[in-house]
């Protein structure tokens, strides 16, 4: 009986997480358009529902009813595979993200994470890197010059930000003496890591912007010079797979920033429920990402490389050294 409850709870949590993740891009697209609009002194979508709240549903219906077009010269197998790789990889990362302290319902303790791996951070970075393969394969399989250029830029960008990103979290791991995200959050119950690791946070945040392929580092899909980048040839549901995963990566990066540097679900002043604190912090970071997007222009290609190799990498290495010296 107990085993049954454990399995049942597991499946329930899985269903909830998948449902939330699938529905999350809907409000996020609305939010992004609203924030963009208000920064540009426009009201944004206003006509579908109250203040355009139903606009994402209208967009979704439109995307569903679009022609599913595959270009003649495209590699059909890889072309259909690419959006799935991106989406699956993004969903798989959330397996390791903890959302809050365990809660008890009817005497059953329910942990608010799907798994607590002892190498969770490693897993997150590795699987989050996988969704770039979808982008690269998609750009390659489209057989279009813009898509290939976008995919090539993704490759180059990947190398220059993944390394500083990996090094930036080493400091956090050193402080928590664990790679488990739950242990990292519990280690921050006193002072948050942002106090101990300001350089690590800055490096991680900037590398995260590049990982999420958002402005100022949205070179793979630079509308101005590449059409739409790697998803130029995609339409309908396949396109929306890329969009969903793009928004989920934003949420993922926000969640990682919170878990690694901003104390996870540890409260600041108000004794709100831990889950609520986590959601509030993550939404703040999502908002910050969108705010960044509509404030800054796109970096040039070579500028991104020089930021990644000449600034972020030395900074993250220095961060490890300093942390090690202080801890020793």
């Amino acid at each position: 009986m107990d085993e049954l409850i454990v399995v049942l709870v597991m499946f329930l949590k899985l269903a909830v997480v998948v449902a939330v993740l699938l529905l999350l891009p809907l409000p996020l697209t609305w939010l992004e358009r609203k924030i963009a609009a208000h920064i540009q002194q426009r009201p944004g979508p206003m006509r579908v529902g109250w203040h355009g709240l139903l606009q994402p549903f209208a967009d979704g219906i439109k995307l569903l009813s679009k022609e599913d077009h595959i270009p003649d010269d495209a590699d059909r197998f890889l072309f259909t595979l690419a959006p799935m790789i991106t989406l699956v990889a993004t969903f798989a990362v959330f397996v390791a993200i903890p959302f809050g302290e365990p809660i008890t319902i009817y005497g059953t303790e329910i942990t608010l994470y799907l798994t607590d791996m002892n190498v969770a951070l490693m897993y997150v970075l590795a699987i989050a890197g996988l969704d770039v393969f979808g982008v690269i394969i998609g750009g390659w399989a489209s057989n279009s010059k813009y898509a290939v250029l976008g995919a090539l830029r993704t490759c180059a960008q990947l190398i220059s930000y993944e390394i500083p990103m990996g090094f930036a979290v080493v400091g956090v791991v050193m402080l928590a003496q664990s790679m488990s995200l739950v242990a990292i959050v519990e280690a921050q119950s006193g002072l948050w890591n942002i106090v101990y690791q300001p350089i690590g946070f800055v490096v991680f945040f900037i590398a995260g912007l590049a990982e999420a392929q958002r402005i100022p580092f949205d070179l793979p899909e630079a509308e101005g010079d590449l059409g739409a980048g790697y998803h130029t040839e995609y339409s309908g549901m396949r396109f929306s797979f890329f969009m969903i995963s793009e928004y989920l990566v934003v949420v993922l990066l926000a969640a990682l920033n919170v878990v690694l540097f901003f104390g996870g679900w540890n409260p600041l002043f108000l004794p709100l429920p831990p889950l609520l604190w986590f959601v509030l912090k993550v939404s703040f970071f999502v908002w910050l990402f969108m705010w960044f997007r509509f404030t800054f222009p796109r970096y040039r290609y070579d500028q991104l490389m020089s930021i990644g190799w000449k600034v972020l990498l030395p900074l993250s290495l220095a961060n490890i050294l300093i942390t090690g010296m202080i801890l020793a």
Partner: protein
């Protein structure tokens, strides 16, 4: 020394992302400022200037008699042949238009008919919401032209309006003539 200090402060600014925070604070102030958008069909409506060339109308004199003398000069000068004028002699012996049709779908609103008219009869007025569901309803006859809105007397302003969906095509109706400063939320520094 002064330049060295300047250099040092610039370096400190770079290290602490001073320019990035400056940009962010600017966009933040815009994010929480009022929008400048005119809520056109729902809440607000633009009353065009007097010079605006919209829906045609036929002028009448003080007795309500149409001023048109049916000379057909407007139909002659019209570059897209969208006017049809058939004159007749009324009971007082004046030459008046029996038929005065303008095809709004073909008209290019150049205003040449207004210039050519010797009797000051045909004008292009302020009305601009006359979309229709088929092009045959866009052929407007004499009586409709006489009844059409005149030129805006105090144009060039935004007034309160509401969307009226009762007709075959929705139009935005002026509720009261209250003016609204359309510069109110636009930053002029």
């Amino acid at each position: 020394m002064a330049t060295a200090n300047k250099q040092i402060s610039r370096w400190i600014g770079w290290v602490f992302f001073a320019d990035i925070f400056k940009g962010l604070s600017l966009t933040l102030s815009y994010m929480f400022s009022k929008t400048i958008t005119e809520h056109y069909p729902d809440k607000e409506k633009w009353i065009p200037y007097e010079r605006y060339r919209g829906h045609h109308f036929l002028n009448t004199d003080e007795n309500g008699e149409v001023k048109c003398v049916g000379c057909e000069l407007c139909a002659k000068i019209c570059p897209c042949n969208c006017m049809e004028v058939v004159p007749y002699e009324d009971e007082n012996g004046y030459r008046r238009p029996l038929v005065f049709n303008i095809d709004m779908a073909r008209c290019l609103y150049c205003g040449l008919c207004e210039d050519a008219c010797p009797a000051d009869a045909i004008k292009l007025g302020q009305h601009y919401e006359f979309s229709a569901e088929n092009s045959s309803t866009l052929v407007v006859g004499r009586d409709a032209l006489i009844a059409a809105p005149r030129k805006a007397e105090h144009g060039g302003k935004v007034v309160k309006a509401r969307l009226n969906r009762s007709g075959s095509v929705p139009i935005s109706e002026e509720t009261d003539g209250e003016d609204r400063d359309w510069w109110r939320n636009i930053r002029r520094s």
